[in-house]
């Protein structure tokens, strides 16, 4: 996990649900390219073709509400999104994003499409470099931060069993 993330903003509002992020009819595929080609189709049809590697989503309340489909954060990550900042997240989406190593950051941030934003995950500082404003994120709890730092839940688990800290139930 990068210490400082810097990228271009895509601005979304409240209650961006999982059907907007990746509609149910596109889920029956193993192709991440296919998923990413439809990402955010329900909210902003131009997103999938215009999103670039390193972009950051800034949104309002309850981001990712709805389904447990992990394809929602997977599609965003595969499309190039490196972090999502929102006032709040729906819990299954939040957990899924952490599990796949996509930083989801709780903060209320003013930013418009195209603004440049930087996030310091360790200090908790967020800067809108375009507007010249600064914000603080709600800190991660230690457990989630350790999963993120290991690059996701699977890596975190494998590291744990390798070091023999936890029993191997297999």
């Amino acid at each position: 996990m990068e210490g400082i993330i810097r990228g271009r903003v895509w601005r979304f509002g409240d209650n961006v649900d999982t059907d907007m992020i990746i509609p149910g009819r596109y889920l029956r595929t193993f192709s991440l390219d296919e998923l990413a080609s439809h990402v955010m189709e329900g909210a902003r049809p131009e997103f999938a073709s215009q999103v670039r590697k390193g972009d950051i989503i800034v949104a309002g309340r309850n981001f990712g509400c709805g389904s447990s489909r992990e394809q929602a954060p997977v599609a965003l990550k595969h499309a190039g999104v490196v972090a999502i900042i929102a006032e709040s997240f729906a819990r299954i989406f939040y957990r899924n994003a952490i599990n796949i190593g996509l930083p989801v950051i709780m903060a209320k941030v003013d930013a418009d499409d195209g603004d440049e934003v930087s996030i310091d995950l360790r200090s908790g500082q967020i800067r809108n470099l375009t507007a010249g404003s600064e914000y603080r994120m709600k800190p991660f709890n230690d457990y989630m931060l350790s999963i993120l730092e290991d690059g996701g839940l699977v890596n975190h688990y494998l590291k744990t069993i390798d070091t023999g800290i936890s029993g191997d139930e297999g």
């Binding site: 907007m20 193993f30 447990s68 992990e70 299954i92 457990y143």
Partner: protein
């Protein structure tokens, strides 16, 4: 001794702790894990990734995993067929015998019906509406594929012990007012993120006297206000239901009288009208009279929220010998084969067919906009389902209203959103 609520007691037991407190992170034993045809393949892929990198190659306990094909049954695309093939092969390889492939029903109906759900259990499902099982006094919550793959590998998962909200519901609603109206009304007041990360405990005389079907409808929609789980203390009807379906032992938990809740809410539903959640958020709720006359193209009766026998019976009684409006597609999908068969034997299915409805096999049906009737741009559906997100049931420019089975049936007949005129008995 710390006073604990039901959710805390179940989680403490599952974590092997005497007590837990909100905010604490615990590692809990999982009693039952469920995946369906949409979420099994991503789970299997991650499980195989774990295995290929030195993790377990066998699932922790094949008898504690249940797989249900319900989202795309029978498969409607080659991708859906491939997902089901991959799942079937994995189940065979791993010795998972509890796999329901041929339209046995929606996972959240099949699991209780087949006796897999008992009070006091920790149940995780790779589906957000797994919270339905809280109706049986279980701790049940939804999770994604990576979390589920870890459960398959280890039989454990981590939880942050949730802060709790208590929602007391009192009063006997009259007319065509049902559990669906109660939960829509609650979500309208609490908001779509009003219970985020929290445990929601439903109490009060309305809940205590409610049948199993209605209790499931209410807990099913706990996630629509953001909750981690919804839970109810099992009543007599619930215990009878469970005992009729499994001989296995279980433990019933109750909340300590003076256990702590972050918030307490009270709803008196005595004078409640039928409720409708309007596009595009589940908390955009109005009494039905405010939206009567709204044009519809489709009406859908079914889903894990309202596809049970009781729901079908209510709708059939509203329809009687009338016919579906010529401009409306009325789609009916019973929530399980057991329900389908009973409704068939009792003439309920015949009522629908004679009325001109499209009766589909058990499954999720058109709820998720991938199968069995999708909406064109600009089209409107009124559905007994749980989500009215923009584009949920088809094109992003289509819309969905959520309502109870009686309102959906009456609307199918009238061609516009309508409340039934006939008097009904006690709805809940």
């Amino acid at each position: 001794m710390v006073k604990m609520n039901m959710t805390e007691k179940i989680l403490a037991e599952a974590a092997g702790l005497r007590e837990v407190t909100p905010g604490e992170i615990i590692e809990a034993r999982v009693d039952l894990a469920m995946t369906h045809d949409g979420t099994s393949p991503p789970t299997i892929r991650t499980f195989r990734d774990i295995a290929s990198r030195g993790g377990p190659a066998r699932v922790w306990d094949p008898e504690r995993i249940v797989m249900v094909f319900d989202h795309n049954v029978p498969a409607n695309t080659i991708g859906a067929a491939e997902f089901q093939r991959v799942t079937r092969e994995f189940a065979r390889e791993q010795g998972i015998v509890n796999i329901f492939q041929n339209a046995a029903g929606i996972c959240h109906q099949v699991l209780p019906e087949r006796g897999f759900v008992r009070p006091g259990m920790v149940i995780v499902g790779a589906d957000s509406h797994t919270c339905t099982y809280g109706a049986f006094g279980a701790f049940a919550t939804g999770m994604g594929a990576t979390d589920m793959a870890m459960v398959f590998a280890t039989g454990k998962t981590w939880f942050m012990v949730p802060e709790a909200m208590r929602i007391e519901v009192t009063g006997e609603p009259e007319g065509h007012v049902y559990a669906k109206d109660v939960i829509l009304h609650i979500i309208g007041e609490i908001g779509v993120d009003g219970a985020t990360y929290r445990s929601v405990e439903f109490t009060g005389d309305t809940i205590e006297s409610m049948d199993v079907s209605g209790r499931m409808t209410i807990c099913n929609m706990a996630v629509e206000m953001g909750a981690k789980n919804g839970i109810m203390e099992p009543n007599r009807q619930t215990l009878d239901y469970v005992r009729a379906r499994t001989g296995r032992e279980f433990r019933v938990y109750s909340s300590d009288e003076d256990s702590q809740y972050l918030e307490d809410h009270h709803f008196d539903v005595s004078d409640l009208e039928p409720q409708v959640a309007c596009p595009d958020d589940v908390d955009n709720v109005y009494p039905v009279h405010r939206v009567e006359g709204t044009h519809i193209d489709e009406a859908f009766l079914g889903s894990c929220t309202n596809g049970r026998y009781e729901d079908l019976k209510i709708a059939a009684e509203v329809i009687g010998d009338r016919r579906v409006h010529e401009d409306v597609r009325f789609i009916v999908s019973p929530a399980s084969r057991e329900i389908y068969l009973k409704a068939l034997e009792d003439g309920i299915i015949e009522t629908f067919i004679r009325a001109g409805a499209i009766v589909c096999n058990p499954g999720c049906g058109p709820c998720l906009g991938a199968h069995m009737g999708v909406l064109a741009p600009g089209e409107v559906s009124i559905a007994t389902t749980n989500r009215n997100f923009r584009g949920r049931m088809g094109d992003p420019a289509s819309s969905v209203y959520l309502a109870n089975p009686a309102v959906v049936a009456e609307s199918a007949i009238e061609g516009v959103i309508s409340a039934p005129q006939q008097e009904a008995g006690n709805g809940c």
